[in-house]
């Protein structure tokens, strides 16, 4: 049985105001929660694979979302459009060995073993806000390495203007790929400067342990200032391109999902507001959080878009 508590502090020793307040809200709501939820939590990251890694200074101090919540609420259409179902169905995916094909405008194209990539790119912990386009958010302690550092090693040529990522296509196991809800395989992309930005990482773990399959194992992208669908899972292919990649959601509904997909409360989705977000793991009586432009990472990334109309290039 999972013993759940609504805030996670112990394993990360952060006690900021937000944590403190969310605990108070939690206690207020205790009358509708069970007694078991009030028990202290067994530390989540104690037995993990990455217990002794350093935490990056780029980490947020916000209260970390419960691990069980992060593992059971995943948009992974390759398995199912239902978040709970996909987290169960994804268990069948074999992630070892894993190969990543690097191609396009690079001096070092080829097929690389994930093990070798990981050996060349030391991982660290990055606690990031994660904001979904569906207006909910989490705070996840990812384990990963800067994408840019890895890309440099592949020596992209001067023609490389974009990076395109592709998810594994295997309808035998990824049963969601048997329906045409999106065009498979899932494709995502970044502009070169976005890909090289120090905040952009490739994650191989979370909560001090290996990445659960449903969260994108064995290798996924994390771009914390963009909506979650940019953070492509189970990457098998990285291609340097001269032209802007046609991304999966953009292809499926170009009026609703753009290439940039920067978190922006000022630009609503055509069918819903993006001004607020439901922070998962708080009391059911906690109000939604005001969404920040670039998901709160504006100081670091706003300059990438200084000459762009963000309402047009959404």
């Amino acid at each position: 049985m999972l013993i759940k508590s609504k805030t996670e502090i112990a394993s990360h020793e952060i006690t900021d105001q937000a944590v403190f307040e969310s605990r108070r809200q939690f206690i207020k709501a205790a009358s509708v929660l069970s007694a078991s939820a009030l028990l202290p939590k067994v530390s989540q990251a104690e037995a993990g694979k990455y217990t002794n890694i350093t935490r990056s200074a780029l980490s947020t101090t916000a209260a970390v979302t419960d691990r069980a919540d992060a593992m059971s609420y995943t948009n992974y259409y390759e398995f199912s459009t239902n978040k709970q179902d996909s987290s169960v169905l994804a268990r069948g995916l074999a992630t070892n060995p894993w190969t990543v094909e690097v191609s396009g405008e690079t001096e070092k194209p080829g097929k690389y073993n994930l093990e070798d990539i990981l050996q060349a790119n030391p991982v660290e912990e990055r606690i990031y806000r994660f904001r979904c386009v569906e207006a909910w958010s989490m705070v996840v302690p990812w384990v990963g390495f800067p994408l840019g550092e890895m890309l440099k090693k592949f020596k992209p040529t001067s023609k490389a203007k974009f990076v395109q990522f592709t998810t594994l296509h295997n309808p035998d196991i990824m049963v969601g790929q048997r329906s045409h809800v999106l065009e498979w395989p899932y494709v995502e992309g970044l502009r070169m400067d976005e890909a090289m930005h120090p905040l952009t990482i490739l994650a191989t773990g979370m909560y001090g342990d290996t990445l659960p399959n449903q969260n994108g194992a064995p290798l996924r992208l994390i771009v914390p200032w963009k909506y979650g669908f940019k953070s492509i899972k189970a990457i098998v292919k990285i291609e340097f391109t001269e032209t802007m990649p046609t991304t999966a959601w953009n292809k499926s509904a170009p009026g609703e999902y753009g290439f940039y997909a920067n978190v922006n409360p000022e630009v609503p989705h055509p069918r819903w507001s993006q001004s607020r977000e439901r922070v998962l793991g708080l009391s059911i009586f906690a109000p939604k959080r005001e969404t920040e432009k670039f998901n709160g990472y504006g100081e670091q990334v706003a300059s990438l878009y200084s000459d762009m109309d963000l309402a047009k290039f959404f």
Binding site: A37, R271, G281
Partner: protein, 214 residues
């Protein structure tokens, strides 16, 4: 076997209790912290789903009567309609109290940006007068207008479907199933209406031919 009044009272009580089960299921899941990572969404969608299901059940009773010739299904029309309203009310309550946290600012921001919320509100406003005029007393007071008023349940079923289709991100499987059910239930009515008309026209013709031959 003929069922008497007491039998029907017992059956109605059982159906009533059964109809409350989804409510208690979600309530107890909430108390035991088993609503998943996004409890508000689970409650909100759960109540919404059941509102639509009871709307479908309520709309299915007349077609069952038409097809089987049995009159008993109609006895449950009011109860099913009121349960649809009950779950729709909880659905709206969760949205206003838990999702919006009673924030006027949030409401003013979110509703105009979300056409599906407007469709949902329209559905609720269509159901509200039906619930308010559901008593026998009101039925008598409204006379023949009561039936006309209560036909707006067809409109409510359609706006409820619009509400559902509009909010779905990509996978339309669920709303398509409900749309198929509603289409079927409304089609039976339309077919039945025209069959009746044809029958009455034929009857009329017979009468006239009889008259002539006489």
């Amino acid at each position: 076997m003929l069922l008497n009044k007491q039998h029907w009272a017992v059956i109605k009580f059982l159906v009533f209790t059964l109809s409350l089960l989804p409510f208690f299921e979600l309530l107890f899941a909430g108390i035991n912290d088993q609503l998943g990572a996004n409890p508000i969404e689970t409650l909100h969608f759960g109540f919404g789903d059941w509102a639509l299901r009871f709307l479908c059940i309520g709309l299915a009773l007349t077609p069952i009567k038409i097809i089987t010739g049995q009159s008993w299904p109609v006895r449950f029309r009011r109860m099913m309609g009121l349960f649809a309203f009950f779950y729709a009310s909880l659905h709206l309550l969760v949205y206003v109290v838990l999702d919006l946290s009673l924030s006027w600012t949030a409401l003013i921001d979110e509703v105009p940006k979300s056409p599906y919320i407007l469709a949902g509100l329209v559905t609720y406003l269509l159901l509200l007068p039906l619930a308010l005029t559901s008593t026998s007393l009101m039925q008598k007071r409204f006379g023949r207008y009561w039936l006309v008023l209560h036909r707006s349940v067809y409109a409510a079923a359609i706006t409820a479907l619009v509400h559902y289709f509009w909010l779905v991100k990509k996978d339309y499987t669920q709303p398509l199933i409900y749309a198929a059910v509603v289409t079927m239930l409304l089609t039976v009515r339309v077919v039945n209406f025209y069959q009746k008309q044809i029958r009455s026209v034929r009857l009329g013709q017979k009468k006239t031919t009889n008259k002539i031959s006489r």
